[in-house]
Symmetry: C2
Subunit: 294 residues, 2 copies
Amino acid sequence: MLVTVPATSANLGPGFDTLGLAINLRNEIRIKPSKFLSISVKGEGSNNPKIKKNNMFLNIFNEHYKRLTGGRIDNFRFEFFNKIPISRGLGSSSAIIIAAIASAYVAAGESYNKRKILNSALKYEPHPDNITPAVMGGFNVACVHEGKVFSKKHRLPSFLKAVLVIPNKTISTHKSRNILPNTYHKSEVVYSLSRAAYMTALFMSESWELLRIAAKDKIHQDRRMAMMPELYRVQKIAMENGALMSTLSGSGSTFFNMCYEDDAKKIANKLKNAFSEFKILICDLDNYGLIAKS
Amino acid sequence: MLVTVPATSANLGPGFDTLGLAINLRNEIRIKPSKFLSISVKGEGSNNPKIKKNNMFLNIFNEHYKRLTGGRIDNFRFEFFNKIPISRGLGSSSAIIIAAIASAYVAAGESYNKRKILNSALKYEPHPDNITPAVMGGFNVACVHEGKVFSKKHRLPSFLKAVLVIPNKTISTHKSRNILPNTYHKSEVVYSLSRAAYMTALFMSESWELLRIAAKDKIHQDRRMAMMPELYRVQKIAMENGALMSTLSGSGSTFFNMCYEDDAKKIANKLKNAFSEFKILICDLDNYGLIAKS
C-alpha cells in the first residue's frame, strides 16, 4: 500500500485561513501488514527522535483503523519517505494528518472519497487552508460551514513553478498565531478581503500577471514577517526578478514564490546568492493532492 | 446620444466593498445639443425637486466635458428616464456618476474605454463594488490599488433572475456606514473573507447551488439588517422558497434575491403576500453594464 501527500502553501498573502495550493514535494508512506508495529523514516525528520516516533500519525491512524474495522487492531510496517520540511509553513502537519486517515482506509481495505477524508481532517486541523489542497491538489479556496469544509479547486498549469525559500530556522505556528491581534481595523479587513476574492478570480481565470496586485495583505503577513525581517528582502529579490507572487507560506518561515517556468532558475539563483544559508528549491505545482493505493 | 447604466447590487453578503453584480434595471439619458441647458426627468426621482436639478450629474458632466474639450462650455438637453430606485441600495448614485462621465465623453465626441471611466468614477465613489458592475455588467470582484480599480468580471447566465424587495423606506448610506464598528474580531474577518473568496469561486465556476453556503457574512449584513428587522423575514421567505442567495443590497434597504428563472414567480408572490407595502420586482441580470452611443 502506498499513500502520498503533497506539500502545501497556505494563505497566499491575503487569503488568511482560506486560500492554499499544492506543491509537488511529497511525503510517501509504504504500508505492509506486519507481525509487529514497525516504523522507518527517511528524509525530512529522520534525525529527529520526536518525528521518528510518529505519534501523531499513529494516533490518528489507529483511531480511524479501529473505527473502520469495527475495533480490530492489526500491526503494520510503515516506511516514511519525507520530503516536506518540518515546521516551515509547508503543511507538514496537515500532510501527516491526511496521510494517517487515508492510510487507515487503505489498510482497512475500505473505499474512501476525498471529501470525507478532508472533513475528517478538520477535527485535527481546524483551518482548512492546508488540508484542502493537500487532499485535492491544485489551487483551493476553502471555508468551514457547520463543521465541514466547503471548497473549490482550480487546476494549475505546468508552466507555473514554485521557488521555495526555506530558512534554516522556524517560526513556530503557535508563536506565529499568537503574534496576530484579535481585532482588525475595517480598512485592513477590506484590504485583504477584496484581495483574497480578487486573487481567487485571478487563479480561476488564469490571469497570472495580475497576481502581483492581488498578493498583498494587511491581516497576517507583515506582522509575521517582522519576526524574520530577512523575508522582506527575499520578497523584494523574488519580485524584482520576475516572480508573479511572493508570499509567506502559511505562518512561515518558508517564502513561496510563484513564477513562469522560464524565470524560475534566475529567481532561484538570485535568492541563493543572497541567502546562502537558506534552502532554495524549484518545484512543480501539484494537481493530484492525496494519492492512496491499496 | 444615448447613455444607459444598470442598477447594481453590491456586497452580496460576505463581499464587503468588493463584490457586486449588475441588474437589468436601467437609467437612460438622451442627450441633444441645445441652445440652453435643459433637463427633464421621468420615472424614479421625477417628483423629487432635489433629483430633478441633477446637480451631481451636471457637476461631474461639466468637469469632464471641460477637460475633454479643452475648456469649451456647450449646452445640452438631458432627458432622464430613471428606473433605478433612489437611495435603496441599488447603485443609483453610482449610476449617476458613471452616466455623467460617459455622457461627457459622447457629448465631446471622444472615444472612451470602460476601464478609464471606471477609474474616473473612483474619485466620486471610493468604493468599487457598485461602480464596477455598473460599468462592466455581470458579476464583478474589485479591489482598489494605488487609486485604480482592479476587477474581474464573470458573465451571468440568463436562467438566473433577481427578485428585488424594495422597502417603502430608506436606510441612509451614511447611517448604514456609521453603524458599522471600526474593528472586527479575527473570527469575523476569517468568516467573511473565506466566504467572499468562496463566493467568487462559485460565481466563476457557476456552482449556483452552493451560494447558499457562501452568502453569509459577519462584517456588515446583520448589523445593518438590525435597523430594519423585517428584512430577516424577507430573507427567510426567499430562502425557504428556492432562492440561491438572499442578501442585503449594498447598505440597504433593498434585499437582493437570486434564483433560477423557474422559481422567481413563486418567490416574488410569497414576498408580495408577506410585504404588501414593499415593491417586489423580478429582473434579469445584466452583462452589458454601461452603454454609451453617440
